[in-house]
Amino acid sequence: MKPFRIDRRALLRGAGGIAIGLPFLEIMTPLERRARAASAPPRRFLVFFSPDGNIRENWVPTGTETSFTLSRILAPLEAHKQRLVILDGVENKVGGYSARPGDDHMKGMGTALTGIGLLEGTTQGGAGDPAGLAGGISVDQAIAGSIGTTTKFKSLELGVQAGSSGTVWGYTAYAGANQPLPPDNNPSSVFTRVFASVGADAGAIARKQAERKSVLDAVQQSYAKLNPRLGTADRAKLDEHLTNIRDLETRLTAVSAGGATCAKPADPGKVDYKSNASFPMVGKLQTDLLMMALACDLTRVGTLQWEQSVGNVRFTWVDPAITRGHHDLSHDGDTATDTIEQLTKINVWFSQQFAYLLDSLQKAKEADGTSMLDNTLVIWINELARGNAHSHDKMPYVLAGGAGGALRAGRFLTYKKASHNDLLVSCLNLMGVAGTTFGDPAFCTGPLANL
């Protein structure tokens, strides 16, 4: 029956982007053999976000570009030191200086990956004008537009108590201006969405996909007939919905191609993912799910968003003395040494979570024997440099991984007021996407020098 053939083609599309015209025998080749035959493992891009600024004096390494000592906060990354590029002196200029609305948290968050100022809107933050959401596509999505087109998910946005506010404080990833991609905070929902079809019977998958295609065709027909009759404002909204349904149909015809270390993870079941105490447990679950989605080549681009801008998690498991929320603490002045110590410990903890992600990527082997970390670029971002100053200069950026051989790692780079837009351009280039500007071109000079 026809759906079966569609499925086989879809599997191929999922594996390598070659969908049509292969001889019958090639179509019947087992997935694992094809995967091994592929010339190079795919490149991947991950974003790791933690909020409310860092404590620079305990974060910045000492030493030279190639001979340096990790700081107290970055010490948990010692085992991966040769896979890191630590960037000091890069400034989020578009967040700090552009004449766009929003307070410093909002601007830092909305520009973190987009490099462009916020839209006007009705969310009243700090001293700035009320703002809306980010003004453009985020770099992870621009990269996904290149490397994420053949996988079941163009990208996955996972959160750990992130993005529940429904405002610019809550999102890092954007499909475009005013189009946030809300992180999914619930491991149970992530599991169902991402892994439900992994390992299922091929015939059943084929039937399901044929049904979905019929339904989505009919649904698209409804929007296509209705949308032109609507007013301009309403039509823009429903056209965006229609576009997302089209993308859905394309993606749903792809399934997991499998990978060397692909295995369906355990169903986390119902998870209490909202309580303060569950934060570390949910973070590990989300990291594991994201890892396995990469290992199964269900996606090649992901965001792991810990809290959100102005996040106020109480890190009691880090130190029982920490009774105040993260953002509360971040407002204390530099003379509050107890608070600075607590914030340092919180960032050490985030560093440990970053190390866990790198460990997992290191352990996951590709079909060609390299590690997933070799082929991945991970960037650790924050919406602020320092919380109490709400500053955007000397942002605490860390890059990690091999980016498929493109990243010269094991380095500590210092800049003088380099623009973070240039760092975003470098991320694009490292992932094989051409470009000399990203976001607001007024803040771009090209890729970051010496990276």
Partner: protein, 566 residues
């Protein structure tokens, strides 16, 4: 007929509250709207929307509205009997202008599009398995044949799902889905029709085109089916019931009298109470109470379970106070001398005479407690984990009850909140704010107000002393229409209860919630109608809900949609 001309008087006085919000506070205290928000923000600048006498109906903009998670859940429950909570997995709505149902914020992200698909599959599968005979009243093996049965199903189910009779395009899309599924079997065909319908714009959105306008008129009434949906989603958060559908089919939902009669019937229903409760939860941030946690060293009596009980206390109090047939006025929310507790919560508060797990209406002392501002839920929510927070308590009153917007501290300010002390009172610790010029500009609006709550600790318990010193609960209201000193939260509640600014504020918030948008310059008469009904009934909260069906904004729509036509 439309609202009477008596409403069409200049209403600047009713906007005194909004005018007062244009204050300075090391800068400005302003309403959140600004120009260039495409009609989504509230009226801007210093001019308030006016209602010009003698002008024709002025409905303001109306947008296509996407169902919220709550509306989706209620609708699939009423359409297919589905109570699986499928919408719980949908991403949270963006909060705009304080509410989760702002039409322009309710877009569909890739994740949501996918969740709609998964939910539709789960709901349709369960419907054809569990309620086939109710769903499909004809026999596909009968003499009329399977195709005729499918046509009948598509027409009847489609009308219910789309809340109006299908047009040819709707029918063709559902028929295509059936045909594809029927290649497997009839049941699959029906299931795919349901999956398609649940993802279609006519189901997920409330789409309106209006009745045909009279020649040259800039506004038109809604057609009867559109009006049925407006009523049911405004008053019940769900699809129209059989009576509304019958009214729409008979063409009886075009007169204001009939619409009013339907509204009166619907407001008697528990579903209308749920709408008021949802408004309250968003307006007063009650949804956050259940997640409140406290430092056990400072507040040993408070447990996570306490927070849940406090939420229930305030929910039950509001339900009783608002729907009390002999009362229900706004003032009672701030002053009523009773609350609802069960045995556990009574013992937490130290209230005698209540045992057991059931909540019972219980008198409070009346000297210090009375009204929702003195209940543990808000007091705890607006406190820190280890202390009270005069700032947050003051800010809440300013923003939620007086509709004033307070900007957060300047971004470059090094903030050092007053440290906990074993000897000083909170008031003494906060004196720095009043003394420091960089703080006092704004904090003069929050702290003197919030310090009036000091008789209640950060976990909502009454106290006479703090760190061995007697509590001073004197407070000060400034820049409002009820300025002056007060002593304690109960006296503050009484002041707020008499404030025209508070009344105007609550009415405006109901406008935003009810219509899913901010007020615009075109909405002066609609706001005036709401205010007039509210005042005419003695400021009963339930009248605010009733008044929303009597405005130009509800009864009409502009012939030219927002943004024009392509």
């Amino acid at each position: 007929m439309t609202i009477s001309n008596s409403f069409r008087t200049a209403t600047a006085c009713l906007w005194a509250g909004a005018m007062l919000a244009q204050l300075s506070c090391t800068g400005v205290v302003m309403s959140p709207g600004r120009s260039g928000t495409g009609g989504d923000g509230p009226a801007t600048g210093t001019t308030s929307p006016l209602c010009r006498a003698g002008a024709g109906p002025s409905p303001g903009p109306s947008y296509v509205r996407r169902l919220t998670r709550l509306e989706y859940s209620n609708t699939v429950r009423d359409l297919l009997g589905d109570t699986s909570g499928a919408a719980d997995r949908f991403p949270a709505e963006e909060i705009r202008l304080g509410f989760d149902n702002n039409a322009q914020a309710l877009t569909v992200s890739p994740v949501l599009a996918e969740q709609y698909l998964l939910a539709a599959e789960a709901i349709a599968t369960s419907a054809v398995e569990a309620s086939w005979s109710r769903l499909v009243p004809c026999d596909p093996a009968g003499p009329a044949g399977a195709d005729a049965c499918a046509k009948q199903f598509i027409a009847t189910f489609g009308e219910a799902a789309y809340r109006r009779p299908l047009d040819a395009d709707d029918t063709a899309a559902l028929q295509a889905a059936f045909t594809a599924g029927a290649a497997t079997d009839f049941k699959t065909g029906i299931r795919l029709v349901i999956e398609t319908a649940l993802q279609s714009p006519r189901f997920l959105y409330r789409v309106e085109f209006g009745a045909a306008p009279a020649a040259g008129q800039p506004v038109a009434k809604l057609d009867d089916w559109e009006m049925a949906s407006r009523l049911s989603y405004l008053l019940w958060h769900t699809m129209p019931d059989a009576e509304l559908i019958a009214g729409a089919r008979a063409g009886q939902l075009s007169s204001a009298e009939n619409i009013g009669a339907e509204a009166r019937r619907m407001i008697m229903d528990p579903r209308a109470h749920a709408v008021v409760a949802d408004f309250n939860a968003q307006w007063l941030h009650l949804g956050e109470i259940g997640a409140v946690e406290k430092d056990a060293k400072i507040f040993p009596k408070f447990s996570p379970a306490t927070a849940g009980l406090m939420r229930e206390e305030t929910d039950r109090f509001l339900e009783d106070a608002i729907w009390d047939p002999d009362g229900g006025d706004l003032a009672s929310l701030f002053t009523a001398p009773y609350t609802f507790v069960n045995g556990t919560l009574a013992s937490y508060y130290g209230l005698a005479g209540v045992t057991g797990t059931a909540f019972v209406k219980t008198p409070v002392d009346g000297a210090f407690r009375g009204g929702l501002l003195t209940q543990g839920g808000l007091l705890s929510l607006l406190g820190k984990a280890n202390q009270t927070s005069p700032v947050h308590r003051g800010k809440f009153v300013r923003e939620q009850l007086l509709c004033m917007e307070l900007p957060p501290p300047p971004a470059d300010l090094m903030i050092k909140p007053p440290e906990l002390s074993a000897t000083l009172t909170t008031r003494q610790r906060f004196e720095q704010h009043a003394a420091d010029g960089s703080c006092s500009g704004c904090h003069r609006l929050m702290d003197p107000l919030g310090l009036g709550f000091e008789r209640f600790d950060g976990a909502g318990l009454y106290r006479d002393t703090e760190n061995g010193q007697p509590v001073d609960d004197s407070g000060q209201l400034t820049d409002t229409d009820v300025d002056g000193p007060f002593r304690g939260a109960l006296e503050l509640g009484a002041k707020l209860a008499s404030s025209a600014q508070v009344r105007s504020c609550v009415a405006t918030k109901w406008f935003r919630y009810g219509y899913g948008r901010g007020e615009t310059d075109a909405d002066g008469c609609s706001l005036a109608a709401i205010q007039a009904r509210f005042a005419g009934g003695g400021y009963k909260v339930r009248d605010l809900l009733a008044s929303l069906v009597e405005t130009d904004a509800f009864l009409y729509r502009q012939v030219t949609p927002p943004g024009g036509t392509p």
